[in-house]
Symmetry: C2
C-alpha cells in the first residue's frame, strides 16, 4: 500500500481482538462463511465490548444470579426504560416517558409489532429503500403493502429522498417506517429533512415508526435528532432504540419501544396485550443499562476509530477503486458501495465472495434489483479493513 491516506490513530488496545480471537467467536459474522473469507457483512463489530458492560454481566454471572430479576425495587425491565429516558434527556434534550416505554427483545420484533398494530392488512407502509432487510419482511410477512421511498444520490452528493415521488401511491397508507441514521446509506437526517417528513406524516395522518438504533454511531459534522422530539411529532411517533448496535451486544437481545403518547400505547396494547411481547433477560437488561449510563467514554473512542476507518475507506476507494462509488456515511459503520461501474455480469456480492473471498451484504437484500451494490461493514481494525481493500483492489485489477 503506497497511497496517502489520512493518518489513522492506532486502535486502542482495549478494543483489540486478534484474528484468532475473532475466528474463535461463535457469532454469525465470523462463522457463517468459509475460514478464508473475510466477513464484512452482518452488523457486528470486531471489538471487545465496553468494560462497564462486562462488569455488569459478571456481577450476575459470578454469583449465578439468574432468578426473576428486580432492580431498584422494580421489575428489572423498568431499569432499561429509565436508562433510556435518562440518555435521551442527557444527549438530545428529548424527554420521553418511561411509563410509555416497553422493553422487548429486538427492533425486528418492534417493527413487526408496530406495523401490525398501526396498520391493517392490505394497507401501505412507507419504507426508505434501500433498507434493512427485516423492514421489508415485516411489511410483507404481515400482509401489508410496501411503498418505497427511494434514497437517491443528490446533485451535491449524499443520499436524499423526494416525498413528491410518493404521489399516487398514498391511498390506504397508514405507517411510515423511518430509519435514522439510515441503514445502509449512513445518512443522519438534518432537522429540515425530519420536519419535512413530519409535515408529510401529518398531512397523510401516518404513524411514524422511528428506528434510531444507529444514533450512537455518528460522525463529526452530523448529529442525531430524535424524531419524537420534534414539536408535534410525539402524538404519531413510536421510537425504537437499543444499545445492541452501538455497544455491540446484539446477542443479548434488549430493545425499547417508546410511545409518544398514552393513546399510541393504548392502540398498541389492543393488538399486543399483557406480556405477549415476552420479557427481556436479566443480563441484557444489565448490559444495556451499563452501556447507556456508564460507557460514553468507550463509545467516544469507538466512534473516533470508526470515523477514521470510514475516512480511510473513502480515501483508498477514491485512489485505488474509482469504479466503486460511495457516498461517505455520516453515521453507522456501514458503507453502501455502488459497484455497477465494474460491469460485473453477476451480483457484486457473488463476485467478491468467489473471487476476492470477502463476504459483503448482498445489495439485493436491501433493494430488489440492486445486485450491483454491496454493503460493507467497516467496524473492524485497520489491518482487516486494509486486507479487505487489498483483496478488492487485486480482484478489480485482474478483471480490468
Amino acid at each position: 500500500m503506497n497511497i496517502e491516506t489520512r493518518p489513522v490513530p492506532p486502535l486502542d488496545p482495549a478494543f483489540q481482538l486478534s484474528p484468532e480471537r475473532l475466528l474463535a467467536r461463535r457469532n454469525a459474522k465470523w462463522s457463517q462463511y468459509a475460514p478464508d473469507v473475510i466477513p464484512a457483512y452482518v452488523a457486528d463489530m470486531d471489538f471487545m465490548v465496553a468494560p462497564q458492560i462486562q462488569a455488569a454481566i459478571r456481577a450476575s454471572v459470578d454469583v449465578a444470579d439468574y432468578g426473576y430479576p428486580m432492580r431498584n425495587g422494580e421489575k428489572a425491565d423498568r431499569a432499561v426504560a429509565h436508562a433510556f429516558v435518562r440518555r435521551m434527556q442527557r444527549l438530545y434534550g428529548w424527554q420521553p416517558d418511561a411509563d410509555l416505554t416497553l422493553v422487548l427483545s429486538d427492533l425486528v420484533q418492534a417493527t413487526y409489532a408496530g406495523v401490525m398494530a398501526f396498520s391493517r392488512p392490505g394497507e401501505g407502509v412507507i419504507v426508505q429503500v434501500p433498507n434493512y432487510p427485516p423492514f421489508r419482511t415485516a411489511v410483507e410477512d404481515t400482509g401489508r403493502r410496501l411503498v418505497p421511498l427511494e434514497m437517491t444520490v443528490q446533485p451535491g452528493g449524499g443520499y436524499g429522498f423526494d416525498l413528491a415521488s410518493l404521489e399516487g401511491q398514498l391511498e390506504g397508507v397508514s405507517v411510515l417506517v423511518l430509519c435514522n441514521p439510515q441503514n445502509p446509506t449512513g445518512r443522519a437526517f438534518r432537522r429540515e429533512e425530519l420536519e419535512e417528513l413530519l409535515a408529510f406524516a401529518e398531512a397523510h395522518d401516518l404513524t411514524v415508526l422511528s428506528d434510531e438504533i444507529h444514533c450512537d454511531l455518528i460522525f463529526d459534522g452530523a448529529r442525531h435528532i430524535p424524531f419524537a422530539g420534534l414539536p408535534g411529532a410525539a402524538a404519531r411517533t413510536v421510537t425504537f432504540n437499543s444499545a445492541t448496535k452501538g455497544f455491540n451486544i446484539p446477542g443479548l437481545r434488549t430493545a425499547v419501544m417508546n410511545f409518544g403518547t398514552p393513546e399510541l400505547l393504548a392502540r398498541f396494547r389492543e393488538g399486543f396485550p399483557g406480556r405477549v411481547m415476552g420479557s427481556p433477560n436479566a443480563l441484557g437488561i444489565d448490559a444495556t443499562v451499563a452501556a447507556w449510563d456508564e460507557a460514553q467514554d468507550w463509545l467516544a473512542a469507538l466512534v473516533a476509530h470508526l470515523q477514521a476507518m470510514r475516512d480511510h475507506l473513502a480515501a483508498r476507494l477514491a485512489a485505488e477503486l474509482p469504479e466503486i462509488s460511495m457516498q461517505r456515511p455520516e453515521a453507522t459503520y456501514l458503507a453502501w458501495l455502488d459497484c455497477r461501474a465494474l460491469g460485473l455480469d453477476r451480483p457484486a456480492f457473488d463476485v467478491f465472495h468467489d473471487e476476492a473471498r470477502i463476504a459483503f451484504s448482498p445489495g439485493a437484500n436491501f433493494l430488489p434489483g440492486a445486485e450491483g451494490f454491496v454493503r460493507l461493514n467497516f467496524a473492524t481494525s485497520q489491518p482487516i479493513l486494509d486486507e479487505i481493500l487489498d483483496r478488492m483492489v487485486r480482484m478489480v485489477r485482474r478483471n480490468r
Copy 2:
C-alpha cells in the same frame, strides 16, 4: 424442634447458598420484601445453578461473545429446538419435530400468544383453577372468557378434576390450557386423566395448550407424560416448555413452543408472523442447551433434595400444624396450603406476612376467593424451610 421426621440427606455443598449470598441476590425472591421476611413465594430456587450451565455461560462471557449468535452452523435458537427434541425423545420417548418448535422468551408469552392464535375474542378458554396467575391474565387481557376447571380434593386424597362440571359452559369454548405438572397443586396427571382430557378436547374440538414447564421436578411414584405424545393428541396440541424452572434460570428467558402439526404452526403464524415473537438471547440459549443436554445428574440431586423437603414439610405440618391441610405434591416445589381451618379473619397471606414475617404467594392470586390458601415454595435448604415452619408454628400457637 423435637418431632420425628424422615431423615433429610445433607444438602450437597454444590447447591449451598448462605443467607448472605441469598440476600445479596437481585432476584425478586430475595429483594421484594423487607429483610426480616423469609420469601417462600415466587418460583425461584435458593440453590446454585448446575455447573454445566455456568460453564456454558462463561464460555461466551469470558470472551464477550455477544454478537448475533450461531451454533452448529444455524441460527442459535435452533440449538434449543434440537436440544428440546433430544430431551423429549430421551426421557419420554416422545418425538417432537424441531422444525415445528419455536424458541421464544417465556411461557407467559407463549400462553398469551397461544390463546390469541387459537381462540377469538369472546370465546371461552378452559383453565384449571387454582392456577398460575398469568394464565388468568392471558385470558382476561386478550378479551377471552375464562372457563374454570376446578381442581378439588378427591375422596381418596389428592387433587383431581371433574370434566362433567363444565357442562353448560362449553358454548364457544375453543382452547384448553393444561398445566401438567400442575401449579400450584403439584399434581402430575396420570395417563388415564390425560386420556380423558384428550377425549374431551376431541369431543369439543379444543386446541390444547400444554404447559409442561415443571416436568423436570417430579417425585418418586409419579412420572411425566407429554400430552402431545398421546395417540391422536398432536394434531390439537401446542406444548410449552423451558429449562428455566427445573434448572432455576428464569431471568435468562428462553422457552419453546412446539406445534404438534404443521397445520397448528401455520394457524399460529397467521396471527404471529415472522419475528414478532422476538429472538432469544445467546446466553439463555447456551444455558438451556447445557441444562437439557448435560445437567441430568445435577437435576437428579436437586429432585432428591426437593423430595426430602416435601416430605419434611408434610411431616412437620401433620405433626405441628394439623389445622393446615396440604395434599402432598407429586411434582414441583410448590405446596398449596389450605389454611381455612385456622379461622383467620384476614387473607392468610397477610397474616403470615404481618405476624410470622413469611412471604408466601397469596391464594387469591391463583383462585379468586381463595384468601384462606397460600402457596409455599419449598425449594430451599432445610434450615430455611425449618425457620419458615418454626415461624408458622409460633404464629399459629399464639393465635390458638
